[in-house]
């Protein structure tokens, strides 16, 4: 029940962020209705995040249905610095990634680009000085969080380009389509030439 309560608080904060930064909704649009499951192994807890178009929903759950899943110990999750480590971590069974990684990236990008003047909003409720103090505390915490965020971002970007090639990026797909089109053209030309040759014989 305590976890449940804390999760509810975090969900509230995330949704406050949605209200305060009006660009977030647009940024989250690509991941609408996509379930990101975060499995923190050593806590033996799983969390699912879903953006439903207006709100973020965060639940502590035992369900195993997801569109994208990240599983690791909390230390591993926090320490994801060097993208090169990823493959290694996966091989060592310390990290698991499943599903469409663009979803994890979608959620993480949206919050990385968050632009909210928290002290300004805070001071409206508790006055300027306390707001500043609270803000300093939060900034310290946030810088820690940012590092993690950045790591996660790099990590995911890297992973998408990594030898693992777990998922096909839309750009890759576009390139592939283009290549196919070229190839098709060339085959058609070849066919024409063969036909010409056959006829001239």
């Amino acid at each position: 029940m305590l976890t449940n309560f804390l999760v509810a608080v975090v969900e509230r904060i995330l949704n406050t962020a949605l209200v305060l930064d009006s660009t977030l909704i647009a940024k989250l649009k690509p991941v609408t209705q996509q379930r990101l499951l975060i499995d923190i192994r050593d806590w033996q807890q799983q969390f699912v995040v879903v953006f439903t178009g207006q709100n973020l929903h965060l639940y502590n759950t035992k369900e195993t249905l997801y569109d994208c899943m990240i599983s690791a110990n909390i230390d591993t999750l926090m320490a994801l610095q060097n993208p090169a480590m990823l493959t290694q971590l996966i091989r060592q069974d310390k990290l698991d990634l499943q599903g469409d990684l663009n979803i994890a990236q979608g959620y993480s990008n949206a919050f990385a680009a968050m632009d909210i003047d928290w002290p300004e909003h805070l001071s409206r409720y508790i006055g300027d000085v306390p707001a500043q103090q609270v803000w300093q505390l939060i900034t310290q915490l946030k810088s820690q969080g940012d590092k993690t965020q950045l790591k996660l971002n790099n990590t995911i970007t890297h992973l998408c380009q990594d030898e693992l090639a777990v998922t096909i990026h839309p750009i890759e797909l576009e390139q592939f389509k283009q290549h196919t089109r070229q190839l098709k053209g060339q085959v058609a030309q070849l066919e024409m030439r063969i036909n010409q040759l056959l006829q001239s014989n």
């Binding site: 379930r35 929903h57 759950t61 035992k62 249905l65």
Partner: protein, 251 residues
Amino acid sequence: MNENPEKTAHFGYKTVAETEKASMVADVFHSVATKYDVMNDLMSFGIHRLWKRQTIASSGVRKGHYVLDLAGGTGDLTAKFSQLVGDTGQVVLGDINSSMLKVGREKLHNLGLVGNIDYVQMNAEALPFPDNSFDLITIAFGLRNVTDQNKALRSMYRILKPGGRLLVLEFSKPEHELLNKAYDFYSFNLLPKMGELVANDGESYKYLAESIRMHPDQETLKTMMNDAGFEQTTYQNLTGGIVALHRGFKY
């Protein structure tokens, strides 16, 4: 002696004719409908929100699902489900009581939740849907008010799709004797007083307290669900067993 004695049911601690219970329960909820949400928060110190969150977390609900929030009252669960099933899904808020449905509809409209919610008046004992219709049925704090609970469970089983699940959130039996005592004192002394003060309706809240105590405990409800056909039935105690969340599947 009467050849054909009238069947009876519990109305709180009173025993009443089975045919009467439904209308007596209706009176209770007509009279509390408008104050229902405020009282819920007050009575449970807001904890009912956490119990409901747990229900959603255990529901496996997702985009495209067809969900019945039975005895849904003012629609707390429906509000969340409506967002989680999205445009391609649908939620039915079902309740026997038109006043509760009306309050629910207004509340959800004001939250901007329109488009994928139906409001249907229905009795849990005879659900007006074809077999194998729903992916999920929830009944939160509703089952104890139903006259023939076994019949209601069978009806829910019938309209669930194979692979679908039922979640019953309901008051139950606290695991520890001390908690049980404290809880008794709270619900029989304080709760009706709060009802009196806030909703001006002590009697209704006295009924609520009594009906909670008459409701089957964890194991009994689990057996009832199995008897109705549910499989893999499990329950989870919340807040020391004051409330239990039962879950069963239809295969």
